[in-house]
């Protein structure tokens, strides 16, 4: 028998609008073990918590139920409050009467009835709860950052500057991410390379950052503070300890390819460095195209390399690393070409995407920074930009807004005008979304100073005729159909999560949303935390965002890591499985279903029985069902507790 209390929250109007709070209080106070039932406008507020504390003291409560929002929202708040009231935190339960009741039902009578049931269920659960005490574990103060784009680099630098070791894993053979491909950045027109290079250099020389370029995370085990990762270091076929980046091999390599970095616009070689400022300043061999690796002949690079760095025998290596926290900064790609067929994207050379324009405008790009069109190298005199190409299109593209296109289109249009002053720019847009510091001003300065024509509407079709691109669009402001004979068309293509994020999310046991972006733990209050403790999220892997936001998120995740690493141990959830030694028959069925190898063998009274390693157990409870004798139970979610909830559900 335990004396418990019930506290019902109004949450302002959020709950009280649909749930009759008074009735919930009345009905629940009739429960024999409930010695006090009361309500308050905002229980989570300072006075609300004070009220709970006073009542606990006054009535001598041994546990309580909070009927309010989702436990995901405030369970921690009220469990910490319980500690301060000298009640074991695990004797506090929440009845979710907001997210799962008042917000989803309209009928007051029904919602009230349901709320009463939910509170009754929580009461019964509390009555069957036991005090639980978390165990503490040592913590590995070393972070792994996945993705060395601008967000990941920022996170790595901040963490390393704070004195912790960082492992920076990057899929591509160089760091810096997509920003290395950009020419200039909005709204200040800073040269992207100029502001990025100091950062990449700093990352490379930082004594506490271990760089792992051309590597991918294959496996992650463990839990917050004690993760163990397996990382695949892909073979570059060049011994980077020897390579000096002298580039003789590049010059002499006979195999020409179109590398991804230049978006198919500029020739590269099978052995190459992505771009002149690449960090690490090392060459690598493209496995798919290398003549030697595919046909066993050639090997010119190996013959010429003064350092004898070429190693065709090199294999992928699997490296095991121990870390305490993980930051996911996986970045973005652009939408598949086949989804924008009406614009002739992928069919006509002069229909390009924004990233290709960046390369064309870049001084290290295919035309050394002169704006030329890919098909014949002519300088385009009339150029059409199409915004929302694949974005805000829930039928054929992506329903979301890609956020940065309005800005970079204005930037690109302006850069074009700087280089081709007598050229004409047309921009098809649906809305201009320039919410950011100095953004709106940037757009209008572009329009006013550069004489570019903004046309409000979408383009239906682009096709080639007489060496020109015919653009059929609409200007909905004048109600006129527009036909433009353009020299080049630039699509502000939709941003999509980078390739392979889904697989990585599975490895990290975090969730992705319907578009493949990584899901944050709470859209407003935990925007950089993932569902798994100790895993944080920065940059475009989460949603489209610009450089400034990505950097801010990178720093924000670093601060999360600081607060985790500021402790010397982590407390593990005490909700783990426990074996009843006398009932266990030693069949070890539990061992086979445990995903964490947390079941060990133990000798007990002359027989072998199962034992749960509570450091490894994550509390899924699968073993409790596999156990034939019902000897394993899950603390916090015991058979008795769940049955008690079920019983309460059927009370009239």
């Amino acid at each position: 028998m335990r004396n418990i209390g019930v506290f019902v929250c109004w949450c302002g109007l959020n709950i009280s609008r649909t749930v009759d709070i008074k009735r919930v209080v009345e009905e629940t106070s009739s429960h024999p073990q409930v010695i006090c039932s009361t309500d308050y406008k905002y229980l989570c507020s300072e006075p609300g918590q004070k009220l709970i504390k006073e009542i606990v003291k006054e009535k001598g409560l041994e546990g309580y139920v909070i009927a309010a929002c989702s436990p995901g929202m405030h369970e921690t708040t009220f469990r910490e409050l319980a500690s301060r009231c000298e009640i074991n935190p695990y004797l506090c339960e929440m009845a979710n009467i907001r997210e799962q009741c008042s917000w989803v039902h309209e009928d007051r009578e029904e919602a009230t009835g349901k709320a009463i049931k939910l509170v009754n269920m929580a009461i019964e659960k509390v009555l069957h709860n036991e005090p639980l005490y978390p165990e503490s574990f040592p913590l590995n103060k070393r972070a792994m950052v996945i993705g060395a784009g601008v967000a990941g680099m920022q996170a790595a630098l901040d963490i390393a500057d704070a004195g912790y070791e960082v492992l920076l894993v990057e899929k591509r053979p160089f760091i810096g991410g997509h920003m290395t491909q950009l020419s200039e950045t909005f709204p200040t027109l800073d040269c992207a390379q100029c502001i990025l290079t100091p950062k990449t250099a700093e990352v490379a020389r930082h004594p506490r950052i271990t760089l792992m370029p051309y590597s991918e995370v294959e496996e992650v085990k463990g839990y917050v503070g004690n993760f163990e990762a397996v990382i695949r270091r892909k073979a570059t076929f060049v011994d980077w300890n020897k390579c000096t980046g002298c580039a003789i091999c590049i010059e002499k390599c006979p195999k020409k390819i179109y590398p991804e970095f230049e978006c198919g616009l500029k020739e590269g070689k099978s052995i190459d460095m992505a771009f002149p400022q690449a960090v690490p300043y090392k060459v690598f061999i493209n496995k798919e195209s290398c003549i030697f690796l595919n046909q066993g002949k050639c090997g010119v690079c190996a013959k010429l390399c003064p350092e004898e760095a070429i190693d065709f025998q090199q294999q992928d290596q699997l490296v095991k690393e121990k870390i305490g926290a993980i930051i996911v900064a996986t970045g973005y790609d652009l939408i598949d070409k086949s989804e924008l067929a009406e614009f002739g994207y992928g069919k006509y050379k002069d229909v390009i995407d924004g990233m290709q324009f960046e390369r064309i405008n870049s001084s290290s790009g295919p035309f050394s920074g002169v704006i030329r069109r890919p098909s014949d190298g002519k300088i385009p005199k009339e150029i059409v930009f199409i915004q929302c190409a694949g974005s805000r299109d829930r039928e054929k593209g992506k329903p979301y807004c890609s956020k940065i296109c309005c800005m970079y289109t204005a930037k690109q249009a302006r850069l074009y005008k700087h280089k081709v002053p007598d050229g004409q720019v047309y921009v098809f847009y649906m809305d201009i979304r320039a919410g950011g510091k100095g953004y709106e001003e940037f757009i209008y300065r572009s329009v006013e100073e550069s004489g570019m024509l903004y046309l409000r509407g979408q383009v239906s079709r682009v096709f080639e005729e007489d060496g020109k691109l015919i653009v059929w669009g609409m200007d909905t402001l004048s109600g006129k159909k527009i036909e433009i004979n353009a020299d080049m068309v630039v699509l502000a293509s939709a941003i999509v999560p980078s390739n392979g994020v889904k697989e990585l999310a599975n490895i990290l046991k975090i969730t992705t949303d319907e578009h493949g972006f990584i899901q944050e733990a709470h859209p407003k209050l935990k925007p950089i935390e993932c569902m798994t403790r100790g895993v944080y999220l920065a940059g475009c892997g989460h949603a489209p965002k610009d450089i400034a936001e990505s950097v801010a998120q990178g720093s924000a995740t670093a601060s999360k890591v600081f607060s985790l690493f500021s402790r010397n141990s982590v407390l593990a959830e005490p909700t783990v499985s426990i074996v009843n030694k006398d009932e266990c028959s030693g069949c070890l069925s539990c061992e086979t279903v445990c995903p964490y190898q947390a079941i060990e063998k133990e000798n007990y009274r002359g027989k072998v029985i199962a034992k749960v390693n509570s450091a490894l157990c994550q509390g899924c409870g699968s073993c409790t069902v596999a156990c034939r004798s019902g000897a394993i139970d899950l603390r916090g979610y015991t058979n008795q507790q769940i049955m008690a909830e079920l019983e309460a559900l059927l009370w009239k």
């Binding site: 805000r392 299109d393 829930r394 054929k396 509407g457 383009v459 239906s460 609409m474 200007d475 159909k481």
Partner: protein, 132 residues
């Protein structure tokens, strides 16, 4: 122009939505339909503006324009619409409401013999069908 709740919820608009099985409010006026329409140059009002008129409750005005009669039901608009609105169906619904006032059944006798012998029956059947 004054708009009001009565005007926007005009029952004819709902009837057009039901007949065409299209949700008119889904349109966000990008104009892609009009930009690709083969008969836009002959219409009083381009297709996206017809949808806008319906959104504003200007049903009587929408019934007066010639645009529905120039729609060839080629479905170019539908196939590119980011909101999957089948404008050909909306045009059909508008034609349907207009029949009594505007529609004059086509008289095949005005066709020359040469045309009559060459014209596929498909053309006549579809023309009549469009008006019923």
């Amino acid at each position: 122009m004054e708009i009001s709740i009565e005007k926007i919820n005009y029952e004819l608009r709902e009837a057009i939505e039901e007949r065409s099985n299209q949700k008119i409010i889904n349109c966000y006026q990008c104009g892609k339909c009009s930009a690709g329409c083969p008969s836009e140059n002959l219409m009083d009002v381009p297709p996206h503006e017809i949808v806008r008129m319906l959104q504003l409750g200007l049903i009587d005005e929408a019934l007066e324009v010639n645009s529905p009669w120039f729609c060839t039901s080629c479905f170019t608009c539908l196939s590119r619409c980011p909101r999957a609105i089948d404008i050909a169906r909306i045009m059909e619904a508008l034609r349907y409401y207009n029949l009594n006032d505007v529609f004059q059944p086509f008289d095949p006798n005005v066709l020359s013999d040469e045309v009559k012998t060459r014209l596929p029956q498909q053309a006549l059947v579809s023309l009549w069908r469009k008006g019923t």
